[in-house]
């Protein structure tokens, strides 16, 4: 799936998202308009329930908008079907969840490998890439362990390795240090720093001051709206 080249990786225009909870409609995002350029590191901040996770979910193609426009890597995600979005997530976006979300039936190595297997990469390439990524996150000795046998920090590092497996143009991380202790949080921050240095486009939803300092700019959400844009 070749994507159109452009300097803009993410562009949203009057993006709205509402959920129906019984008879009540809850507006989570209200008129979000912002852009992220190639190679930018953007931190999204805001209190709980401000819409950070929803915004990341929409950018990754996991969730859909209620109205408004969102173009990611040149593709208008509002008009794509589920199969396109699946391929899109697999090949062009790396997502790191706050709660790691590793597949419990797969080993560490298999967890890192499966996005590449879906992209039908040759077996040798997959093996080499898995070894390289596990070395990067310092978990090569844990390759054959199952997620339940890892600590939280280790699981988050595996989740990072998995997000980078297909060398995506865009990396999204939802509170990646939120569940970790200081030491493990620093490891994750270091990994994000490396990604920034390598020119990757990164959007991180976070409360972590260290991560916000690392960002080129910060988008603050409040009650579903952009409260401030700090360059």
């Amino acid at each position: 799936m070749p994507l159109k080249t452009s300097d803009l990786v993410v562009a949203t225009d009057s993006l709205n998202k509402a959920y129906q909870l019984g008879d009540v409609e809850v507006e989570v995002l209200k008129g979000i308009t912002f852009k992220v350029a190639r190679g930018e590191f953007v931190a999204i901040c805001g209190p709980s329930g401000s819409g950070k996770t929803t915004l990341l979910n929409i950018i990754s193609g996991i969730d859909r908008t209620t109205s408004g426009k969102i173009i990611v890597l040149g593709e208008d995600l509002t008009v794509q079907d589920e199969n396109f979005l699946a391929d899109f997530r697999c090949n062009h976006v790396g997502f790191v969840f706050q709660s790691y979300n590793l597949v419990s039936t797969l080993t560490v190595a298999e967890n890192v490998a499966f996005p590449m297997e879906w992209s039908r990469k040759p077996e040798e390439e997959v093996e080499t890439r898995v070894a390289e990524l596990l070395e990067t996150v310092g978990l090569q000795h844990r390759a054959n362990h199952f997620p339940a046998q890892l600590s939280g920090g280790e699981q988050q590092r595996v989740a990072f390795a998995r997000a980078l497996a297909n060398d995506p143009e865009l990396i999204l991380a939802d509170e990646p240090t939120g569940n970790l202790d200081t030491k493990n949080g620093q490891k994750i921050t270091q990994m994000l720093r490396t990604l920034k240095a390598n020119g990757k486009t990164v959007i991180v939803a976070t409360h972590d001051p260290e991560l916000m300092q690392l960002a080129d700019r910060t988008v603050c959400l409040e009650d579903g709206r952009i409260a401030s844009l700090n360059e």
Binding site: I62, E82, R89, C90, N101, V103, S104, T105, Q149
Partner: protein, 626 residues
Amino acid sequence: MSKAAFPVNDLVRRRLQTSLTVVTLTLSVASTLFLLLFSRRIGLGITSAGNALTYGLSAVFSQFLLFIGVLIFAVGAVITSFIVFLIMKQRTRDFGLIKAAGCPNGLVFGYFMTELLTVTFLGCVSGVALGFAADFAATSMFQFQAYQATPDLWLAPLVFAAFFVLALIFGTKPMLDAAKVSPIKALSPVQYFGLTTGNKLKPLSRAGLTLKIASRSLFRRQSASVRIVILLSTVFVLLTVSISGGVIANNTSRSWVENAIGSNVVAIAHESMGVQYTQLLAKFSGATENGDFNYLNAELAVPDILLDELEAIQGIETVDARLILKAHIREVSNFTIDPETLATLPVGGSREGDSLIVGVDPQKVTATWSIKGRFLNAEETGEAVIGDSISQTMFSPDPQAGIHFSDPLSQGIRLQNGSFSIVGVCIDPINNGKVAYVSIEKLQNLTGISNANIVLVKLDPAADRSALLAQIKNEVNGVNSAFSVFELEEVLQENLDFLGSVWLTVMFLPLFTLMSAALCLIGYTMLAVEEQRQEFAVLRAMGAKPKTVVTILAVQGLIVLFSSVAVGISLGVIITLMILMPQPLVTSFIIIEIAGWLLAALVGMFLMSLWPAVRFAKKPILKILS
């Protein structure tokens, strides 16, 4: 919140799971009750051989019914245990949550016990009602109207109690286990569904991603997986026994009847004798012959000239002249030596009864019976071959009459002043198997009647049938206009149709069980969905398409089904061929027919089991994750 409000509200909120459990329990109870009621009806109907069939065939049917009945009860028990295990196992997490919130252990137990009792009671009551309704509906159908009778009401409390107790035993066990677990453990994914990790699953690590996830998940919830495999294996044993047994036994028994009557055979006799003969043959399917018929009436005698003329017609393969009469016969006992004590032991007694006696020329018979022993020898006139009903009624051990050993093949029969040693026992539909074949020569000597009273003629299948029949009728009319030609094909067809309908009834029995097993498989897939929902959401979020999720669940379903099929069908075939059906007739067509039925059941169950998977795959990722 009152004690009763929580369980009731909880059951109502979890509508799908609650209805699935109640429906499966209902079907399980209903199928068992229906089968007990229905098989009792048709079992009694079939085994009352005085009205239809022969004793040998009745024995085969009864054996099948008994075996299927036992299997169905076993399946019902396994299904019940599985479904209550499933519903309670799914609640382990809730148990932990409620305990973690500070609810006392006894109260939590009370909540879930109330739920179990409610679901079980509803399932059992509606099962009993549905069982009676199904029995009523089945016996109202045209084909089974003959079996109508008042249902055995005592079966209702029996089945209700059996299943209620089973459900409580199997449902309480996982509940007690969950109650013993601390809240932290109950909430842990490792405790949930007996989840285990381990390197013992490494052999599958080289398999594809889909197979890897599917097989490891199966291993992870091994207690549920083992239960569903046991359940489906039992169902497939039942299916194999009823389908393959039904098909093989149907074909085998049809061939017995077909061979005994003979195909392409017509009877030539005096009008009244011809009618009597066809009624004796059709007695097998419920017809009644004239009890006062005088077989020795001189008018019935077949003129020798007619036999000569029939022999001369081209296109006739065999002319089988028979002397048929009804007579009183007596069992002739024998003696044997006990090999250990060398004592002389009596074999048989002096039992008496009425039988149809058929005198034949052994070299000219038109039929080829299924015989234990051998047919008459042309050189030896003192031999007899008896029907299976005579064998079962007059030549089986009867301890009450002091007869401990009996073996027709080492005994004989006495007819008027003549004795015949029995050399074979055959399956013959005529007179419901109450028949004895002897040499026509000796029978004529004994009765003083020199002529046959019926002629069976086997036509050459290559000949022009209608032209040949016209020629035969012409010759018969020319000799004696009171004589007619009787087609036996119609009687044969009637008998075969009757046999077919009885076997269809037997095969109809496991349908309910198949339905409840399919629902259990759906329940198992729902358990898999429930357990793996987080995992599937992650896979979808990382780029898996909805069909990947369906494929993983389908692979799990196939692994479970194939494991069960392998065990179930092997056992079913062994039971059918080795125990239930001696000397089976198995042709390649029959194998294809059985394979087709079993494959249809397999595919049907598999497709039904995919329903929760397809439904789940359509859900948005965030809805799954939430």
